[in-house]
């Protein structure tokens, strides 16, 4: 069927949004106003849907009179959106947040009901997967309702849907996101990296003018700092037969560090000051302090002449005057905590402190241990060099843009595209540009300006959906962001007290494109029918040079992603029979990875399932 609507969905850690356009029309994608509860009694529309799910008390549920248009009078057992976040902050045991970060947590099974984290809600707890499905379902209902209100038939077959995921998401997180979308009623969703979506949005905004703003040889850094996460990507600009080409050459790791951490850091600083003055604030006042810090931060960044932002924290009782505590956010604190804490002038060879080891600290989300974003960026640029260095084709793309300082080799971006609400503040963008220029030997790094920092990802994804429908417009060459490996135990004579090392064999090379297939030849696996067989599964973002079959000897380059499991049903062949199979990997047109075990003589094949996360 002819696709009529181009949709982009940004499923964010703290906020989600949907942008859409009619593919045949020239208009830029517009953001869908999403109906959501504003209180237990009222509904309204907002451009974003807070990715928060509140699980109400039974009494709250019974007295909730507000109904979303598609709820048909049914009582909601969970509330999604802005009100859920605001109200749930007071009852944290009933509030699900950051489901997306849990989806890519390597130590849990995303389909286990474990959210709200550490809550004692028992059976009402839900899985990160189910929470993501809720948000996506809410967006689908809102979209269909909007179409119906316009008098158009909501028909998923007419929609080209692009769902964005962070470039740093590994295959297991991508597959779960994709499955959550299908479970939420979105059919045939294609995945796109958020950082690429931001780039598509910028191209869409510039129109044809974008070709004047970049030139062959440019390396563009996409610097994306959202509410809860930071993500970096590099795109190389080249020329082929007089046409500009874009290729994404490197992606970073998933860093749980963002704008919310900055507001929290300010609030904790002010709280410590108040404590010193003998003024105690309770949990509710702290929440209002965080909120005021966010407003104060925006105000101080927007008005350079302002020296301080006064803050009043009312008590919880009904008297506003008796016990209101006052303090102020000064520019000195703002500069010290935000600029120097999160964006310090650090050298390219200064990398973040190593992640703390699990076991030494409380288990939970894997928050970044070091708040210095500039150090995370420095590490990314060094790892990007490592990645590019391993592959001759990529080396030719980056040309001269390699730096070398005190034996740290790194890629030197020549332009930067900022994304994420944090960068609405001029001083933070300027600081980042300063740092990049300093690493670039003093030469300024160009800012690709004009983007919308908040909604660029959803809009860019919709633009990309339109490109897919019409076939018009430039595409960023990308393929898989990482390379993938399966672990095989080395055959060694048994030595007491010595675990044989794992041999990691590449099954998916980096950059493998949608709709292609690779076979691991020369390695046969013997499977016994009816018995599950498990494999360990690894990935790497810095080994672009590996081809299918390459064996990795440096275990530091790869990280464990999942376990694979395959069971040959005994019905198909004789039970207990030993069958030689070979491994085939497929990147589907929708951008997801599938692994198959194939028995060559019979042509039969069995799908390998991504199993629960490793513990």
């Amino acid at each position: 069927m002819e696709k009529r609507y181009a949709l982009g969905i940004d499923l964010g850690t703290s906020n989600s949004a949907l942008a859409w356009c009619v593919a045949s029309e020239q208009r830029s994608p517009q953001v869908l106003s999403v109906p959501q509860l504003l209180s237990f009694q009222a509904t309204g529309e907002k451009e974003t849907l807070a990715s928060s799910l509140y699980l109400p008390l039974e009494q709250e549920q019974n007295s909730t009179s507000a109904r979303l248009p598609w709820e048909n009078g049914n009582r909601p057992d969970g509330i999604v959106g802005e009100f859920a976040r605001a109200h749930g902050a007071l009852l944290p045991e009933r509030l699900v947040t950051s489901a997306k970060s849990w989806l890519c947590n390597a130590h849990i099974n995303p389909e286990d009901p474990l959210l709200p984290w550490k809550s004692e809600l028992g059976e009402r707890k839900i899985s990160p997967f189910a929470a993501s499905q809720r948000y996506l379902d809410h967006l689908r209902q809102a979209f269909e309702q909007m179409l119906a209100a316009r008098g158009e038939q909501p028909d998923m077959a007419k929609c080209e849907v692009i769902l964005t995921v962070p470039a740093s998401f590994d295959e297991v997180a991508r597959i779960h996101t994709h499955m959550a979308a299908e479970a939420a009623g979105w059919d045939g969703v294609t995945l796109l990296e958020e950082q690429q979506a931001a780039f598509y949005h910028w191209i869409d905004l510039c129109g044809e003018g974008w070709r004047q703003q970049v030139s062959p040889g440019d390396i563009v850094l996409i610097c994306d700092v959202g509410g809860g996460t930071a993500d970096f990507s590099l795109v190389a600009v080249t020329e082929q037969e007089g046409q500009l080409q874009l290729e994404r050459i490197s992606v970073g790791d998933h860093i749980l560090l963002g704008g919310d951490n900055m507001d929290l850091a300010l609030a904790y600083t002010l709280k410590a000051e108040l404590d010193n003055q003998g003024k105690k604030i309770d949990n509710w006042q702290f929440l209002s302090l965080v909120h005021s810090c966010r407003i104060g931060k925006e105000k101080l960044f927007a008005e350079p002449t302002l020296e301080e932002f006064p803050i009043s924290l009312p008590s919880r009782g009904s008297s506003l005057f008796a016990r209101t505590i006052t303090t102020q956010l000064t520019r000195e604190v703002l500069d010290r905590i935000l600029l120097d804490g999160f964006f310090p002038h650090s050298g390219i060879d200064e990398h973040p402190l190593r992640k703390r080891q699990i076991g030494l600290r409380e288990f939970g989300l894997d928050y970044a241990a070091d708040p210095a974003l500039s150090k995370h960026l420095a590490q990314f640029l060094a790892r990007s060099w490592q990645n590019v260095h391993s592959n001759e084709q990529l080396q030719s793309l980056v040309g001269e843009r390699i730096g070398d300082v005190r034996e740290t080799r790194f890629l030197r971006p020549s332009a930067v595209l900022f994304n994420g609400g944090v960068f609405k503040a001029d001083p933070l963008r300027r600081r980042m540009l300063d740092i990049l220029a300093y690493w670039n030997g003093g030469d300024a790094v160009r800012e690709l300006a004009g983007s919308h920092f908040d909604l660029a990802v959803a809009k860019g994804a919709a633009s990309f959906a339109r490109i897919r429908i019409t076939g018009q417009g430039i595409r960023i060459k990308a393929g898989t962001a990482r390379s993938y490996y399966i672990g095989l135990e080395s055959s060694m004579p048994a030595v007491p007290g010595f675990v044989p090392p794992i041999k990691a064999v590449c099954v998916v090379p980096q950059g493998m494109e949608e709709g292609s297939e690779a076979a691991l030849t020369g390695q046969e696996f013997g499977l016994v029918t009816g018995e599950p067989v498990e494999f360990r599964f690894f990935s790497s973002s810095i080994r672009a040079g590996d081809q299918v079959g390459t064996i990795v000897d440096d275990q530091n380059d790869i990280e464990e992603t999942a376990q694979l499991e395959v069971t040959l049903p005994p019905a198909e062949v004789k039970a207990g029979e030993f069958i030689p199979v070979s491994l085939h990997s497929v990147i589907t047109e929708l951008g997801t990875l599938e692994l198959w075990m194939r028995h060559q003589p019979s042509g039969k094949q069995w799908k390998v399932e991504f199993n629960v996360r490793t513990q």
Binding site: N62, S292, F321, A322
Partner: protein
């Protein structure tokens, strides 16, 4: 009761509009029947309103309500009660974000200007957020206050108010005392019921 009136009124309207030929009525009877229909419907509306204004006597302890019977009957609430509930909802928002009701209901006399100032910041920040959320507020007069302004005969009397020694004929020239405010949008939350008693619930912390 009002339900019966509504049904009777509506069935009369239906009969009159769909089967005028079959009923073979004289114009006089038709008009009387129409009047009857209107009166029945008006009665229904009135009863509804009276019921609402009286309110139900509140028992000291809320009786447990069986869950199965709490689904509200599908009846369109009157415009007036919806409007009232909207206002209470708006007030609730101002209380929640800006503590406006706390601010107004407290006795302000014993506090120092400093204490009141600290409280006023809370009210200011919150009111601003609510206004931004629900309206798009701009000045009517984009220039400065205190400057001279001349209005032609066709000026919008809703957007400009003339005070002082105003002549019969234009031009109306004077000094802008207040720039005025207008809003280009109003986004009120949608309500699904007309409960309008509670502005802010009492809060109980369980630890």
């Amino acid at each position: 009761m009002s339900f019966v009136f509504t049904l009777a009124g509506l069935s009369l309207v239906c009969a009159l509009s769909f089967f005028p030929a079959k009923l073979q009525l004289t114009p006089e009877i038709t008009s009387q029947l129409q009047l009857a229909a209107v009166i029945l419907l008006a009665l229904a509306a009135l009863l509804q309103l009276v019921g609402l204004l009286r309110g139900k006597p509140a028992p000291a302890v809320a009786p447990p309500v069986p869950a199965a019977k709490t689904e509200p009957a599908v009846a369109q609430p009157s415009t007036e009660s919806v409007a009232q509930a909207q206002v209470v909802q708006f007030l609730a928002r101002l209380q929640e974000k800006a503590r406006l009701v706390d601010f107004s209901m407290d006795d302000i006399t014993p506090y120092s200007n400093e204490e009141i100032g600290a409280g006023a910041r809370v009210v200011h920040q919150g009111c601003r957020e609510v206004l931004k959320e629900m309206f798009d507020i701009q000045a009517v007069h984009l220039g400065d206050e205190g400057e001279s302004l001349s209005l032609a005969a066709d000026f919008d009397a809703r957007a400009y108010r003339l005070v002082g020694k105003v002549p019969e004929q234009p031009p109306f020239t004077g000094i802008v005392l207040h720039r005025g405010w207008k809003t280009s949008k109003v986004v009120l939350p949608r309500l699904t019921d007309t409960a309008r008693e509670v502005i802010a619930p009492a809060e109980v912390e369980i630890s």
